[in-house]
Symmetry: D2
Subunit: 460 residues, 4 copies
Amino acid sequence: MPLLIKNGRIITADDDYKADIYCADETITRIEKSIDAKRLPKSTEVINAAGKYVLPGFIDPHVHIYLPFMGTFSADDYESASKAALAGGTTTLIEMICPGPKDDPWEAYQLWRQQAKKKAAVDYTYHMSVVRFEPKVRDQFKKIVKDGVASFKVFLAYKGALDLSDADLYAMMTMAKQQGAIVTAHCENAEAVDAMQKQLLAAGKTGPEWHEPSRPMAVEAAGVNHLCTFAQLTGAHVYTVHTSCAPAVMQALDARMRGVNVWIESVVPHLILDKTYAERKDFEGAKWVMSPPLRDKRHQDTLWSGLRSRIISTVGTDHAPFTPKQKEMGRDAFTKIPNGIPSIEERVDLLHTYGVAQGRLSLNAFVDAGSTAAAKIFGLYPKKGTIKIGSDADLVVYDPKAKGTFTAGYSKAGYSGYDGMEKIGRASAVTVRGQVQAKNGKFVGTIGRGQFLRRDATHG
Amino acid sequence: MPLLIKNGRIITADDDYKADIYCADETITRIEKSIDAKRLPKSTEVINAAGKYVLPGFIDPHVHIYLPFMGTFSADDYESASKAALAGGTTTLIEMICPGPKDDPWEAYQLWRQQAKKKAAVDYTYHMSVVRFEPKVRDQFKKIVKDGVASFKVFLAYKGALDLSDADLYAMMTMAKQQGAIVTAHCENAEAVDAMQKQLLAAGKTGPEWHEPSRPMAVEAAGVNHLCTFAQLTGAHVYTVHTSCAPAVMQALDARMRGVNVWIESVVPHLILDKTYAERKDFEGAKWVMSPPLRDKRHQDTLWSGLRSRIISTVGTDHAPFTPKQKEMGRDAFTKIPNGIPSIEERVDLLHTYGVAQGRLSLNAFVDAGSTAAAKIFGLYPKKGTIKIGSDADLVVYDPKAKGTFTAGYSKAGYSGYDGMEKIGRASAVTVRGQVQAKNGKFVGTIGRGQFLRRDATHG
Amino acid sequence: MPLLIKNGRIITADDDYKADIYCADETITRIEKSIDAKRLPKSTEVINAAGKYVLPGFIDPHVHIYLPFMGTFSADDYESASKAALAGGTTTLIEMICPGPKDDPWEAYQLWRQQAKKKAAVDYTYHMSVVRFEPKVRDQFKKIVKDGVASFKVFLAYKGALDLSDADLYAMMTMAKQQGAIVTAHCENAEAVDAMQKQLLAAGKTGPEWHEPSRPMAVEAAGVNHLCTFAQLTGAHVYTVHTSCAPAVMQALDARMRGVNVWIESVVPHLILDKTYAERKDFEGAKWVMSPPLRDKRHQDTLWSGLRSRIISTVGTDHAPFTPKQKEMGRDAFTKIPNGIPSIEERVDLLHTYGVAQGRLSLNAFVDAGSTAAAKIFGLYPKKGTIKIGSDADLVVYDPKAKGTFTAGYSKAGYSGYDGMEKIGRASAVTVRGQVQAKNGKFVGTIGRGQFLRRDATHG
Amino acid sequence: MPLLIKNGRIITADDDYKADIYCADETITRIEKSIDAKRLPKSTEVINAAGKYVLPGFIDPHVHIYLPFMGTFSADDYESASKAALAGGTTTLIEMICPGPKDDPWEAYQLWRQQAKKKAAVDYTYHMSVVRFEPKVRDQFKKIVKDGVASFKVFLAYKGALDLSDADLYAMMTMAKQQGAIVTAHCENAEAVDAMQKQLLAAGKTGPEWHEPSRPMAVEAAGVNHLCTFAQLTGAHVYTVHTSCAPAVMQALDARMRGVNVWIESVVPHLILDKTYAERKDFEGAKWVMSPPLRDKRHQDTLWSGLRSRIISTVGTDHAPFTPKQKEMGRDAFTKIPNGIPSIEERVDLLHTYGVAQGRLSLNAFVDAGSTAAAKIFGLYPKKGTIKIGSDADLVVYDPKAKGTFTAGYSKAGYSGYDGMEKIGRASAVTVRGQVQAKNGKFVGTIGRGQFLRRDATHG
């Protein structure tokens, strides 16, 4: 069904102008001052965007949907995650494929691909985690790149479970450079965290308020330095996921000035929340346990400054949906609390409310951080991440004047980490390749419409 | 006359695709996969860009054309400067208006405007230097902003001549913030330079090789810190011109992480040349005297890294054309050597040869640094700096395979600072608002065609 | 009268051992495992220091006693200041000579010298402020150095009153280098502070809580950078007084790594107090107004870390005693509040209580920071600042187990900024050149005993 | 035999004065303006130090004497090493005990102790390398600390041979903190170096000029960051051995400002030599292969600045004596070149010639860097490292006016890395506990006189 969006104010990472947009065959085919609806096919759906922004569909570069964790699984599936994403204005997800260290990489890749089929209502792609890299499995990763997943994820955290040896890390980054695939990384020193956690637990410090002290900023900054050193040596392009604090950002920035090709991701919990949430009494704090942990409030200024000046490229969520009941697994030991704060639905509105509306982010920077930069870094641009002729008709008609309150939404996690906080702005209509999938915060689309996005290697 | 550019590879700061471009009435009106020339007006000029890039016209954000200096004047006028710019692919110039401290600002503004009339073949605008700021002249600056010149220039260098007191600097930056005008700044501590120059001359150190030691990096880094501190306090947006070395860049970067809105300009001499040029014997070095001076070669890596990661936004020239004969004024004292290295014609090809062709810059980064970023920062975008429907048809058809050697061109300075260096790439055709003004390095256009560009304040 | 201190634990900046000390003719003449009192002159006074430390007399490198301020004078004179110093374990003071910009330097020097005569009970010397430096007065400063005052003070703060132009600063530091005199400096940008203060007052923000916002950290860090840049250029040795926060310390440290000879002073208010004191209601905060202002609490960690690792050399007070009544001068405008927090009596016990007793400082570092480092930097060592044969018998028998509470003491300021805070440790006996001047916090000595200390230039 | 040193200028880390020194029973018993030789025992040896300095015996905190390497052994034994040390003014050595990963720590300790017995002519102690740390061997390390060796050495370099896992590193540093022992560390990332070396060799880059590129500065800086992170987390006190370049120093300094207790060691090759030595043709460069490698010359300024301001605490040698013939082992692969530049005899004179005589170091800083600081950090002070009553009579009468040339000395390595360089200054007489062991560069003492120095833990 053709689509016409009229009278909107189009905002991209660079531009800000008024025009009408016409979409046919899933892509944007016309952008003109004024398009006369009468001359269009009768089947054309018309949305009046007067007084509203028209934005590129938002992209969340860092989510978990299917996620095994200590015998349980994260609460969402592609259906609930898609609804949450679309309700909040996000039209593309990049999910982490997270096999265990004994799993066969190619099989894991197939397993994750399987989860999305017929269930996704957003378009999607993956970062392929590398949690083993002995010679016999290396070709599987090349095959995955060729299959269209041109980005890896490594964990410098999670001792004995997911982390690579430095020798394997070097080999893996060398391969990534050769393949032109970017390496995203969770940067925390695994052994240090493990040792501190054992000490804390042995001392009877078992509550969620001890999660942050067990993963202090020094551990994260050291991880970023470590990653960037290996990037400097191998030439690989790297991307630090969920960078949470000033010392970690500074390490990446220092590396950039030495010539390292490093991009920085923040995630919305670190921009909005602080560690006092995880310190809430009676195990309530468990809802806000994620890694790297929520930090002292003053680091939020660094993150917003970084986004405004585009030193920090992207804002993801690290959406990892576990119910309060699942969080109970860690009642006796914070180390067993499933990590994650569901944010997939809230992200765009949080950025608008606490970024744009408070004068911390320009509208262009908002779009760049929430959509365009991720598209460029991960090889989705200009199909995704912008409003151009030929681009996919993933569009968000956004009402900047809507007012409300954050509350739990579609995620099966069953709670919102931002519950009760003020909300300014809302997606009035959200399209995926030209079809309206959400309206005014409600999913109105088609489950199964989402497509896998093949991405070519672009970081050679 | 309508214009059609066919078969080119269009490259902007973000995009890279093949399409045809049609321009009418001075702007770009169509961008399509294939535009049939036969259906266009017969008068349409057709350029075949097969095998070539089509780039937005380049913008030089930092040039001097009319420049009084110790009783003489810089060698170029708008005619020679326009020819040089266009031959090299530059279609817009931003000139510094440089009155003396006793001149009336509004009169100076009129004087500079007068120089360009009927002589410019490129479009142009200005940065308005503020070399006095007592209360009675302040309204003149507001009037100039309203007249369309929404950027200022301050000198923290040039003691007793051009520098403001800190009290006036604070007042001036407060006004700039209120007016939404950005403040560009030459950052060197005037008094320190003055004192060191006197010491050097008194010690008989009078040759051009003493120019750099009289303006060491510490003086520039301190200037950047000073500017950024005042920007932090007043909220003004600032831009450090011709940033030459790692310590200066780091000061700006530190400030950015504190929330300061600062952009960094490099200029092409600092990217390509080093201080050994100014140390050439028999006063030959005078040709390479500029301020801040050419530095040790290793700082070039910092500047290229900064451009690649877009931490450094722009590349200008600080084109200031003085003939070798004029340079003779400083034969007895390097402090009297007219400062400047003519680069207006060479800039784009230098960036392509030593940036793109050597793998230091992507094509997108090349366009951003040479054109788009300046357009955005200075309120010219999207009229200038990109290739979009509705943008001015300032276009460069660029042949990346052309090979040659740098040599003196249109500038009346009469020499090239890059003489004999290898050149890869050349503008095959250069248009200003749809009219071809240069072909294959030769001016073929119309003197007087250039227009003054009114710019609104955008840095509120 | 000879003096024997028996059974004490002698602690210097380097050493820690048990021995007896015998003093005759004002100096230490014997340090031995055990000195038999029976073999000494009968007149020998014997102090049993069993269970106590014996420390070098403490030195306060930064005090104001005679201080004209907007028509009033600071509350102390040499008699009250001496008593306060001695009661707290301090045996040497370095006072700032603070003439006005129209005063004759030599006359000011004589005036300040006059204040101490017959009134001082501690030994003392001066830093000579340079608030004007036109050629005709320069020889006066050389004469003052030759007279034994080999250190200068400059203000980068206090616009139009005490600050030098950069040209004069450069000339002054060049002279200091030639004379071998060190330059101490108050580092805040005067014009920026002045402009912000006018804005705040104009906005009706007149209370003491606005003092800190009018002198933010950026202003101090910029001042330190400025000083260090001039030190780098002239070769002068410099010393940043009352360094209050991490950004300022980092600027000095960066400079040191570039080869700048810079020492860092902290003062005890910044180590112990924070800006919430100055925010106390009903003008109570005025008691805690000093410049640079009290900062956010987290900067205390930086200062203690710096002292522990001896990156920060000294701890002074910036004692500037004004009564609560005098503070009333600024009731209508915080800019008129006389600056200063009286701390001369509390300093040593504060360092012991909040440094040593809390494990932040070793005993050696405590002595170094409170005494030895200042002696070395300012040419008093080894006459002062250590316990050696031949050194002046300025000794403190210190009881580390004494417990109490801070309260107002001898200073005529009439209040303590630390009132009611816990105190651990106290000087049991304090000697100046072999004579006991204080016991258990009470002055028991002779007014007028204090001597002027001639110091030779040592920073060539 | 009693000893009297007359008329000398005594210089310690803090002091500089003229006095006579009398030594009996191996220690300093009198320091007086003038001691009358006639009143001393007739057996007293008298040295006239007029016109010379009297310095504390120098301490080399980082040497290898007995060192197995790939089937061979370093060339020196305690006899040759003692002679070299004493000839150059060094009276105490701290040797690294370097067992293999399968060796029993306590047995290795005994083996190393055995080497020195009856052969040492200097006093000596050890750093105990920890190259395995599984639970069953941990008590052995505690036993070694109790036996008087209160410092450890860890290697973050040498993959699969000497490096610990991060888990063991954390456990080991936790134990060190509990035991009050300091952890010295070789900071380079083992895996990264290993991978790069394989790549270089595979590319046919086998000569000694490829040694530096295989261990770039980033690898060392990352190692320092890693060590300091673990120190921050465990509270252990750490010491970075042979810190070679500005990035590594800056990482330690940043850590210090975060509260990490870290000391920095430089070694004399990095202060004097640069990487061009290792690039000498025809395998000549092999003589200058050590790790971390010799760097670009500009890093020397950083190291000297650090020493002058005492940010860098000590200067050792990393003396590791291999003959040119032994170096041939690496003719086909630089990775097999035995690492080390013999410097034990040259160190003090190099510091004097290129530090003191060139104005880079004060005499006090020279003594501190070469002797006192090491004594303090490693628990030898005040027995060693200073000139005080009660201290060991380890003294150097130093003639600052002696002129000569560096050349091969007592080391069995058979060459000097400084051959032919200018030398200013020489030890005229060197005593160990009161007995003259060297005169004018010649060993004249008693082999076997050297004693093992028991050191208590002091870093709790």
